[in-house]
């Protein structure tokens, strides 16, 4: 039997899909209305899954009293009510697609010291979600 714990967090942010690697016409062709230079926003949902042994003293894989402030500090505070392209340094160089947002959140959370990060799943809207799992060998994200 294996146990994992999943917690859902929320942040609201704006972004614009655009990359300096493409011309303006190509950006419009590839990203369509998501490339609108004024940006647009989403209510993002972040599902964080951790795994590990259940501490017999607490009955917990991870105490939410420690997981919640960690996620708050690493992801929610820097991302919530922000324009991701300008205000999160990592998206100045790479497109703020939710694939890249998911990957950046994974990178920020994989150092959680009290349980092993197993998966990060990001819902951009209720219709689109993106997820990244941990490679059990490298503890980094699974790469094809």
């Amino acid at each position: 039997m294996k146990l994992s714990l999943t917690r859902r967090y929320h942040f609201a942010a704006s972004h614009r899909l655009h990359t300096a690697k493409l011309s303006e016409d190509e950006n419009k062709r590839v990203y369509g209305k998501c490339s609108n230079p004024y940006g647009h926003g989403h209510n993002y949902v972040v599902e964080v899954t951790v795994t590990g042994p259940v501490d017999p003293e607490t009955g917990m894989i991870a105490n939410l009293g420690q997981l919640d402030p960690f996620v708050q500090r690493e992801v929610i505070e820097p991302f919530d009510q922000k324009f991701l392209n300008e205000e999160v340094a990592e998206f100045r160089e790479q497109a703020a697609t939710t694939e890249n947002v998911c990957s950046e959140i994974f990178r920020r959370l994989k150092g959680f010291p009290l349980a092993r990060l197993e998966r990060v799943r990001v819902e951009e809207t209720s219709k689109n979600s993106f997820e990244i799992e941990t490679d059990v060998n490298t503890l980094d994200e699974v790469r094809a």
Binding site: M1, G59, I61
Partner: protein, 144 residues
Amino acid sequence: MIRITRKIEFSAAHFYHNPNFSAEENRRVFGKCNNPHGHGHNYVLEVTIAGEPDPTTGMVLDLKELKDILQTEVMERMDHRHLNHEVPELAGQIPTCENIAAVIWKLLEPKIKSGKLDRVRLYESPELFVDCTADATARDGARA
């Protein structure tokens, strides 16, 4: 292989307290969940069975049978109960989502005669759930 999932809801009270901890330590580790008067949740349980459909009935298992198992094993034990005081399977354990899910797994696994228990997902709230799945190594062992 097909997976089928049945969902039930039950309401129960609990609180977190470890008799090995001092009162101060209990408050520090468990926060407001340590309130000895308890508090409650509407738990949502998703039980997933995996298997091949029977060639005659087209079913992995009869959902009526699963419904009856969930009624006997989970609802009658846990619905409108105080998990700290009234569920013998949780005696001596802190009734966290992790421990409740593990107890439910152990109760259900021997009762599933068609297909195999694949996952027990227990939501304590829409923002927090635990998944209990077969241990990959144990499953490989069984196959060999």
